[in-house]
């Protein structure tokens, strides 16, 4: 996804102190950058210290949103809600912050969501020519990257979540396709659209999945590139050309909100799903959706979107779902995954059920976050969870390098760690971004306050750090006036 750009020398502001972009411009083209890795390989000197007053190349008021910024060919793309029912995609000059375009959409009536999720939640993807983004009440939208004009719009059904979380899935671009995985509790699917026309190349239902937010990744093993998607109980490999399922590794948990990362031919996951292995979906439903607490689900206790599923599960047609009927309605009997905490390394490739054969190592360890994805960098897999509690494991054998060590910043962690130039950036919800040294020991290099909540994972490209806080978009770079 790296693109070559001409050498640009851009003088900033009247002071005339300039930043020179490298000859080869670096992109961060989707959620968490290249292949969702969280790594900007070409940036060797990203900013170490920054704040709302220090090393700010530029900043803009965006409005509320939690989608990550992306950077492609010298432009930054971001999303926001400009009004209660108006969604916008924006393009900015990556160096100056000049707004290049803004395209708005009326959203219609919006579904309930659970904070900290926001309606502008889907991270765009871009191939340099077109920006692709999903919105819950619309579907996939393709916009001209240079001026924001709509190229096509592919309507998709609105996702529904039994727990009311709301949509937050993001597309990726692979070859000439836009690939989008949407695991909701109603009609989960994986879809590939022609990126030029928006027409469907293939669509693969994922009926045994529950609501989740994992972004697909690509893994090349034994000369074959597979599309890999984590979901309820299963990590699955698909043929990106056809959407056909190639393999499944049935080792995951019930609710999957993190995304896997790929290093060489290995896929790494860190997962946390509430409860123990016996806590399948029905217990959550009986705890939270059985409003009158009579031990059975009534239709009126569920959104109308789920009523067909309800009828399907109501075997005795008595108007209630009890015990196995709840399972039958909402969780596949072939995939009764429960809760837990696991970190796994799974070899890519293969065919059929690879649960045993592909497992390189698997840890039951309470280190994982349920939302922040792991970072595979410099030979280690780093995970950070609520409280700023970190752990690192050897990528090869899963041995513990450290665990239960704090990054000196409390609070929640929704954004995932990212890395460049030997530095690891750990963004906390409280607006503090801790910078760690990539190394065998936890070493704090800096703690930077950006003054607003951070839910979205920042982006790094060309030694600039782009941070989308709850309300603003910052570009931080060193050597600023």
């Amino acid at each position: 996804m790296r693109r070559t750009a001409a050498v640009l020398t851009i003088c900033l502001m009247a002071a005339g102190i300039g930043i020179v972009t490298p000859a080869s411009a670096e992109d961060w083209p989707q959620f968490r950058g290249p292949n969702a890795s969280g790594i900007a390989a070409d940036s060797t000197n990203p900013p170490l210290t920054f704040s709302v007053e220090e090393n700010v190349a530029w900043s803009v008021e965006l409005g509320r949103g939690v989608a990550c910024p992306i950077v492609v060919d010298g432009r930054v793309y971001a999303t926001t809600m400009t009004e209660d029912a108006k969604f916008a995609v924006l393009g900015f000059d990556a160096v100056t912050g000049e707004q290049l375009w803004k395209t708005e959409y009326e959203t219609g009536e919006l579904p309930e969501i659970t904070p900290p999720n926001e309606h502008a939640s889907s991270t765009p993807a871009c191939d340099g020519e077109t920006v692709f983004v999903h919105f819950s009440t619309i579907g996939l939208i393709a916009l001209d990257a240079t001026d924001g004009t709509e190229r096509w719009k592919h309507l998709l059904p609105m996702p529904f979540y039994l727990m009311g979380w709301g949509a937050a899935n993001s597309p990726i671009v692979y070859e000439d396709m836009v690939i989008f995985n949407l695991d909701d509790d109603l009609n989960p699917y994986l879809i590939a659209l022609d990126k030029e026309t928006g027409s469907i190349r293939w669509e693969t239902p994922r009926p045994d999945m529950l609501g989740g937010y994992s972004v697909p990744v690509l893994c090349t093993a034994d000369g074959r590139t597979d599309l890999v998607v984590a979901g309820t109980g299963k990590l699955k490999g698909y043929d990106p050309a056809t959407g056909g399922e190639l393999w499944t590794c049935n080792s995951l948990l019930r609710t999957i909100m993190t995304s896997p990362v790929v290093h060489e031919d290995r896929i790494y996951l860190s997962l946390q799903s509430y409860g123990d292995t016996s806590r399948v979906l029905k217990y959550a439903l009986l705890q939270w959706r059985d409003t009158n607490q009579d031990g059975k689900l009534e239709k009126s206790e569920l959104e109308s979107a789920f009523h067909d599923k309800f009828d399907k599960g109501d075997a005795d047609q008595d108007g209630f779902l009890i015990d196995d009927e709840i399972d039958a309605a909402f969780q596949s009997s072939e995939n009764m995954a429960g809760g837990g905490n696991i970190i796994q390394s799974i070899r890519g490739g293969g065919s059929g059920d690879v649960t045993e054969s592909a497992m390189v190592w698997s840890l039951e360890n309470k280190a994982p976050s349920n939302i922040a994805s792991p970072l595979a960098y410099d030979g280690r897999l780093l995970v950070v969870k609520k409280g700023g509690i970190s752990a690192a494991f050897d990528l090869v054998d899963g041995s513990t390098i450290w665990q239960k060590k704090r990054v000196r910043n409390f609070g929640n962690y929704y954004a995932s760690p990212i890395a460049a130039g030997g530095r690891i950036y750990v963004p906390g919800e409280n607006g503090q971004i801790v910078v760690l040294e990539a190394g065998p020991d936890l070493k704090l290099l800096a703690k930077n306050d950006v003054g607003d909540s951070i839910i979205a994972t920042p982006a790094i490209a060309n030694n600039r750090l782009y941070v989308r806080t709850l309300n603003k978009l910052y570009c931080f770079a060193e050597d600023m006036p």
């Binding site: 009126s300 409390f410 929640n412 919800e429 607003d452």
Partner: protein
């Protein structure tokens, strides 16, 4: 929220151009007719009602006019026969006899659909407009109104309402003390809050102010009041490490917005007077009467030189002096000093309606009880003021002020009452500059004196009575209420909605308040005044209080069920919410019973638990109740859509904060135990856990902070909980 700008409104009425409602198809036209010379409050009532109709009914447009248009099909007549000729003509003999607080909502049959919305006074008309809104499904809460999820077809028929209050005094107390309470609110916040209180038919506002506050200045004996402080002079800095700092929007200090950036006492006082006067004006505009509550026997410390022998009072940060042995209840200097103070308030705020004089909470001035008895005896029935008997009763009762504190309380109370008797021999003291006489309310007469309450307070004075700190404690001692001769003296009860001693955790007391409201009605009391600091979880209690003041048999259960059913549109969710508040009340009661002061918002509030003592079992019971409260909130939140959803989420997040705070307290105790047992590593681990939980609890609050009380709580928790805990942790880490 529309304002009641009378000039604009009158111009608009003349032109009939104010139109409410979104008209999408064939619209029905509703004309709201207010008298051409109607009082300003009735004009405001017309505007409010028109706004409500625009939101409640589908496909209507609503205009306000001063006469009935000839072709009008739907007409709402605002006011009474005295204020609106259209009401007089339409109602004729059907206008019911109502008091100045009585409401009338009456549908009339005829050529057009006509509805009268009026009352026995202009403010009663405003209340009638809100009562109509209530009956059409609007629920008025602190933070705004919750409207029904769907608009309904226009229908003005079927209303036959004549209401009189069960309790004619419905007082809302505000200002108070502590950064977590309304002392932190700016005038803008107060105005919004008052508008909601008017909708709930509160009719009095009591401005509870303290000697160190910046709301008045006076001079006596060459000494001028210089002390001008909020929050006992406490400061709440915001820096890079302040948890939840996003709520302060870049400010370096948490401040009341009306006092932001002010540094000198003089500027503070100027701002304070503007603030309080604004509050008075805002309440008056909504038809509420306003009183200022002061403690006449406490003074800022600069007055020590003019009151020889006076001692430092029992207040936080020792900001006051109080009389002592050298002053008797007829001390001339003291009398003149108090007169200067009272006059200053009366002259600074010449439009207030009454003055509340509060007897001290900690009556150290108790040395002259015998003399006081002699002064009071001529006013009381023979034998009713036997000092020894009174002291015995005060010592043996089951109130916080019992035992030695009870003895001091009754002695000091008698001295204070004797002093007030002497003071008010000067009848000019309560004269406003315009010649009118202020109402007088004596507050906090000791319950041992309830049987002779009518004899001890100055003539014409009402009483505002404090029994104990929490509603539960008052309910447990409800027999005391029967001692008050309510038929002879205007009597109101202080009803604590949430107590500052129980502290900054979510609280509820609705069941106890239900007991007290029932008693007040049966015993013929005038009404009540509220007491609270953080308003957050008080919606159900205040809703009940407001409705119960007008409905004889309303129970807390019925009120809450009705409130939640209406606002959520889901009976099952309403039931869960009722259970949620039961659990919250259980948690409140446990803290109240076992450790009143558990989370009192002062320095040391968290670290006082850092002592090597066993972890009490009741902590877990509180945690269990708070956990169930949280579960029920999220359960209800997940079941509903629409208006009440953000409110339930706010409550739910605050319940998370409570659990995290409770977890931090437990971890601190565990750290203290480990340290005491010579296990510093374990102590550090527990302190680290406490730090994380404290951090999280503040951060959780910041996710949903809505008002200045929420922000004040975040500031307080940083200053009194997080920073001292961090300091102790770092001390231990450094091996000190």
């Amino acid at each position: 929220m529309r304002t009641g700008s009378s000039v604009l409104l009158q111009a608009a009425i003349a032109l009939s151009v104010i139109v409410w409602g979104t008209v999408t198809g064939a619209a029905e036209h509703v004309t709201v007719v207010v008298g051409p010379q109607a009082p300003r409050i009735e004009q405001y009532a017309a505007e409010e009602l028109a706004g409500q109709f625009g939101r409640l009914f589908r496909d209507v447009d609503v205009s306000v006019a001063s006469t009935i248009p000839a072709d009008a099909q739907y007409v709402v007549l605002i006011g009474s026969p005295k204020t609106n000729p259209a009401v007089r003509d339409a109602a004729r003999s059907s206008w019911p006899e109502v008091s100045d607080q009585g409401l009338v909502i009456q549908s009339l049959s005829g050529d057009r659909d006509t509805l009268i919305v009026g009352g026995g006074s202009p403010v009663a008309t405003l209340w009638a407009a809100y009562e109509l809104g209530h009956r059409l499904g609007v629920r008025y809460l602190f933070r705004g109104d919750i409207y029904p999820g769907e608009q309904r077809d226009l229908n003005l028929t079927g209303h036959v309402v004549v209401m009189e209050p069960e309790l004619r005094v419905r007082t809302w107390r505000t200002v108070n003390d502590f950064a977590v309470g309304p002392e932190s609110w700016g005038l803008t916040d107060h105005r919004a809050f008052l508008r909601q209180l008017a909708k709930m038919k509160f009719n009095r506002v009591m401005l509870s102010v303290y000697p160190w506050h910046p709301f008045v200045t006076y001079e006596f004996g060459g000494v001028r009041k210089e002390t001008s402080l909020l929050w006992f002079g406490e400061q709440y800095p915001v820096d890079g490490d302040t948890v939840g700092k996003k709520v302060f929007r870049g400010a370096r200090l948490f401040e009341n917005p009306d006092f932001a950036g002010i540094e000198t006492p003089q500027e503070m006082t100027t701002a304070g007077i503007k603030h309080l006067q604004g509050l008075i004006d805002a309440a008056h505009q909504l038809g509420m009467s306003v009183g200022i509550s002061i403690s006449p026997l406490e003074f800022p410390r600069e007055f020590q030189s003019v009151l020889p022998g006076s001692r430092v009072g029992n207040s936080l940060n020792q900001l006051t002096i109080v009389p002592a042995a050298e002053q008797g209840p007829t001390d001339e200097t003291l009398i003149e000093l108090v007169k200067s103070k009272i006059s200053a308030y009366v002259n600074t705020y010449p439009e207030i309606d009454r003055l509340y004089l509060t007897l001290p909470e900690f009556p150290e001035w108790d040395q002259h009880a015998d003399e006081a008895i002699e002064i009071l005896k001529p006013h009381a029935a023979p034998g009713s003021l036997d000092l020894e008997n009174l002291i015995t009763r005060a010592a043996e009762r089951k109130l916080i002020a019992s035992g030695s504190r009870g003895k001091q309380a009754i002695r000091g109370n008698l001295v204070g009452l004797a002093f007030l008797r002497t003071l008010f021999s000067d009848e000019t003291l309560l004269k406003r500059p315009d010649g009118k006489t202020l109402g007088l309310v004596i507050t906090s007469v000791d319950p041992a004196l309830f049987p002779v309450l009518d004899r001890l307070v100055p003539q014409q004075a009402e009483t505002l009575n404090f029994v104990d700190y929490t509603a539960r404690r008052v309910a447990e001692n409800r027999e005391l209420l029967k001692d008050v001769p309510a038929e002879n003296v205007g009597s109101q009860l202080i009803i604590t909605l949430a107590d500052d001693n129980v502290g900054i955790l979510p609280q509820a007391a609705t069941q106890s308040i239900g007991t007290l409201m029932s008693d007040l009605k049966q015993l013929g009391w005038q009404g009540f005044s509220t007491r609270y600091w953080v308003p957050a979880e008080l919606d159900p209690s205040v809703y009940f209080l407001a409705r119960s003041a007008w409905e004889h048999d309303l129970t807390p259960r019925d009120a809450q069920t009705e409130l939640w059913t209406t606002t959520t549109g889901n009976a099952a969710a309403a039931e869960r919410l009722f259970i949620a508040w039961e659990q919250l009340e259980k948690a409140t009661e446990l803290i109240d019973r076992h450790d009143l002061g558990f989370a009192f918002p002062v320095r040391g509030m968290l670290m006082k638990h850092y002592v090597p003592e066993p972890i009490p079992d009741w902590w877990q019971e509180v945690t269990d109740a708070q956990t169930q409260y949280m579960i029920e909130l999220y359960r209800a939140h997940g079941a509903i859509n629409g208006g009440a959803n953000p409110l339930l989420f706010y409550y739910a997040k605050r319940s998370e904060y409570a659990l995290e705070y409770l977890g931090a307290v437990k971890a601190i105790r565990e750290a203290a135990l480990a340290k005491d047992q010579g296990d510093p590593e374990s102590a550090i681990a527990h302190l680290e856990q406490a730090l994380e939980l404290t951090y999280n609890c503040i951060n959780t609050l910041s996710d949903v902070a809505q008002d200045q009380s929420d922000r004040g709580l975040i500031a307080v928790l940083n200053e009194y909980a997080y920073r001292p805990l961090l300091a102790e942790y770092e001390k231990l880490i450094d091996g000190d």
